[in-house]
Every structure is written in structure tokens, then in C-alpha cells.
């Protein structure tokens, strides 16, 4: 099977076609406008190189160098009381900047503040694991590896977490087609029956609203059953009127009496 190589560069394509469209952005405030964040940033700046810092929607955002991620997170945890790593993952910026933005969302319970640590990782580079600081990073980094193909150094068990191990490609890349490449579309057929079964089973029908009304080879309509392969495009027989059981009833089985089963509003409430 050929590897999927998109010919149209989906990433470079303009997402919005409206000439006058301006993507909405939240206001970026100065970190010193908040007392706690202001002191946090000054303490961070004393120890590390902070590329950018601002407050967006009551949350401090700082940009750091990717090689310093473990030290910064350790400092935030031990010195500044950001004791939770809420989540971490990456954002695909391959087309615009040839790399990924990795973010760490952290929460301080004592300060009741959230902080987002961001770092840019060029394509092909690997990031150091923060698993030893926060256990939750173990799964999050595996997911990042699974979805973006970002290598994580010194991770204890870097293995795909969501997709099967023999999956091709990384689904959260912007170049990955939503409905899967060739290997994804035939994955279950190839794996269970082998490639030779592709012709028998046929390609996926992606239009779930498509119903072949006259297909009597594969389906029998309830109450209108005919022999397999009969042409029903002209007319259909009524085989029964949606009877729950056979007309004569079933031996020893209580017959369903629909009129008895309808409950009044009061009976329903009493149940």
C-alpha cells in the first residue's frame, strides 16, 4: 500500500475565504495587571528565559524554550504552587511555522489560578518528558505521540495509546484526512480477512443516510419480507401487520395483548 501523501497542501490553504474576515482574538493583558501573576512572572524571569507573557481570559500564558520545559514545570510546581498538570498536548503549525506548539495547562489550588506554558518545537525535534514531575503526563505524552508523531525523550513507555499499534499516520495532523487514508479505510478488512477480501466486502459507504430501498439481496424489510433477490421496485407484499408474535400464538408463551399494555397516566405515575 502506498503511503498517503496529500497532493493539495491542505494546511497552506486559507481556511477563511472572506477577504474582510478577521479571526477573533481575545484581548491580551499585561501580566502585571494581576498581582499574583505579576509576581509569578517576575520570579520566572529571574530564573528562566521567558519569550512572551500575557494574560488571556484570566489565564497567564508564558512562552519558554522547549529545552527548558522540565525545569520550568518543576519550578512552577515546587516554588510557585502550581501543583496540577491539567492537560498537555500539541497544536499542529507545520504549514505556517514548520513545527508544533506544545502546551501545558497547570492549576494552582492555593492561588486559584491557571497558567498555560507554551513552547515551540520545530519538526523533527524531540521534547523531554515531564512524566517524572506529573504522573498524568505519561498518558498525555503517549497521546501526543500517537496523534502528532512527536517523539518524547526518556518516556518510560512511549507507545500509541488510542490508535492500534499497526496504524499508519498520525490522525490529529492537519494533513490527515478526516475520513482516513487508504490504509485507515481498509484497516479492519485487511486485518481480519486479509487484503484479498477487499473486493468481496467493498469500499465503505460513507453516506450513512443512503438506504437502498429495493435491495433484497442484503436486507428484508420488517413486515414486507420477500424471497432473496426479488425485484420489489413495483410493489411489495404485506407479510404481517407488525405482529409481535405469530398469529396462532406461541406454545406456553403468554400472548402479547397490546390493548392491555397501554397504561393510563395515573398508572404510569403509580409505577
Amino acid at each position: 500500500m502506498r503511503e498517503y501523501k496529500p497532493k493539495d497542501n491542505v494546511q497552506a490553504k486559507a481556511y477563511y475565504n472572506d477577504r474582510f474576515y478577521v479571526a477573533p482574538q481575545l484581548a491580551k493583558l499585561d501580566p502585571n495587571s494581576d498581582e499574583i501573576f505579576g509576581s509569578d512572572v517576575s520570579k520566572l524571569k529571574a530564573n528562566f528565559e521567558i519569550l512572551e507573557a500575557y494574560i488571556q481570559k484570566d489565564e497567564l500564558v508564558i512562552f519558554i524554550n522547549y529545552s527548558k520545559n522540565v525545569e520550568v514545570l518543576k519550578f512552577l510546581r515546587d516554588e510557585l504552587n502550581y501543583s496540577f498538570l491539567m492537560e498537555m498536548s500539541a497544536v499542529d503549525f507545520l504549514a505556517k511555522r514548520n513545527g508544533f506548539e506544545i502546551f501545558y495547562e497547570m492549576l494552582s489550588l492555593t492561588k486559584r489560578k491557571r497558567i498555560r506554558v507554551k513552547t515551540f518545537l520545530a519538526k523533527g525535534l524531540a521534547i523531554e518528558t515531564v512524566e517524572n514531575l506529573f504522573r498524568s503526563a505519561n498518558f498525555a505524552e503517549r497521546e501526543m505521540f500517537d496523534m502528532f508523531g512527536i517523539q518524547v525523550n526518556n518516556h518510560s513507555f512511549l507507545k500509541r495509546i488510542m490508535m492500534p499499534d499497526d496504524w499508519n499516520g498520525h490522525p490529529l495532523l492537519k494533513t490527515y484526512p478526516l475520513q482516513g487514508d487508504e490504509s485507515a479505510q481498509w484497516y479492519e478488512v485487511d486485518k481480519i480477512f486479509g487484503k484479498e477480501a477487499r473486493e468481496i466486502i467493498g469500499p465503505e459507504i460513507r453516506d450513512s443516510a443512503r438506504v437502498d430501498r429495493y435491495d433484497t439481496e442484503r436486507f428484508a424489510r420488517l413486515g414486507h419480507e420477500v424471497a432473496k433477490g426479488t425485484d420489489i421496485s413495483k410493489s411489495e407484499p404485506n407479510t404481517d401487520n407488525h405482529q409481535f408474535q405469530e398469529k396462532g400464538g406461541v406454545f406456553l408463551v403468554k400472548n402479547l395483548n397490546k390493548s392491555q399494555k397501554i397504561l393510563t397516566e395515573q398508572e404510569r405515575r403509580d409505577r
Binding site: 490508535m163 477480501a197 436486507f219 406454545f251
Partner: protein
């Protein structure tokens, strides 16, 4: 059991019938279901098994092992990663076996028109009954079970003859 004659006299009642009918009657009234809740539809399947809708009335008891089950209710979204296991469990079930595909996801992939979802469980295992709905209510599953019972009663009891040796779907 339409042809039976019951003699309510002094002794035991005697029923005369064909082997096919008695076997199918037994089978259709003791359908043991392999629990297969894969997503939200599974909740409705559990509700059907619980006391309010009470599947035990039909002789339908949920089993957690494919060896003890004859009906598989695929309740939920079948992912590509899982497709291999559903096939394996299906193969482990003893003949005769039936499959109910419950909900849009199992029927056609439903709203998950993506790389990770099998677009219809019938790509992997043969399906006897398709229940539409997202999610189908427990009544719908009961209806499906009753339709399956009807289907079983109509089939020849010795089905294995009709099954081709090599079948993909």
C-alpha cells in the same frame, strides 16, 4: 408450535409436534445475549436488562462470555481498533448464533463518519437485525428480540447445513 394438540385429560398433557418446532421453540425462548455495550447504546441495553423492562421475561439473560451466548447485541460505536476483537468474539460463539446491530453507529457508522469508526458492523460480522435509532429505546430492543424469536421459529432448526464453509459476511 402451531400444529400441537394438547390433550387435557386425566393423565399428563401430550403435545405432538415436529422436532424443528420444538427445538426452535426452545431456542427462541432462551436467547442468551452476549453483553456488548460499546458506547451510549450500551446504557439502553443495560436498561432493557434491568427490572423496569425486564428481559428475563423473554428468557433473555445477559452473559459475559461468548461461549454461553447465542445472540450478540452490538450496542454502540464499533471502532476500527475494536473490530478485530468483535470478530474474534463472534467466532467464539457456538452455532447457531445471531447478531442484532443496535443503533445507527453499529448499523452504518452513524454520525461518526471518520477514520476511526467501522462504517457498519456488517463489514466485519454478519448481522441479522438492524435497529435504527440513536439510541434505540429499550422497547425497540425488546421488539427486535421478539422479531428475532419469530425469525428463529421460522428457520429450519438444523441451520448449519445452510452456512457456507467460507464466508466473509
Amino acid at each position: 408450535m402451531a400444529q400441537h394438540q394438547v390433550k387435557f385429560g386425566t393423565g399428563l398433557p401430550v403435545a405432538l409436534t415436529t422436532v424443528d418446532k420444538i427445538v426452535n421453540w426452545g431456542r427462541s425462548n432462551s436467547l442468551w445475549v452476549l453483553t456488548y455495550g460499546l458506547a451510549c447504546c450500551g446504557i439502553e441495553m443495560m436498561a432493557s436488562g434491568a427490572s423496569r423492562y425486564d428481559f428475563d421475561r423473554f428468557g433473555t439473560i445477559f452473559r459475559a462470555s461468548p461461549r454461553q451466548a447465542e445472540v450478540m447485541v452490538i450496542a454502540g460505536t464499533l471502532t476500527k481498533k475494536h473490530a478485530e476483537f468483535i470478530r474474534r468474539l463472534y467466532d467464539q460463539m457456538a452455532e447457531p448464533k445471531w447478531v442484532i446491530s443496535m443503533g445507527s453507529c453499529a448499523n452504518t457508522g452513524g454520525m461518526f463518519n471518520t477514520y476511526a469508526t467501522v462504517q457498519g458492523a456488517d463489514r466485519v460480522i454478519p448481522v441479522d437485525l438492524y435497529l435504527p435509532g440513536c439510541a434505540p429505546r429499550p422497547e425497540t430492543l425488546q421488539y427486535a428480540v421478539m422479531m428475532l424469536q419469530k425469525k428463529i421459529r421460522r428457520e429450519p432448526a438444523n441451520q448449519n447445513k445452510n452456512i457456507p464453509q467460507k464466508r466473509f459476511i
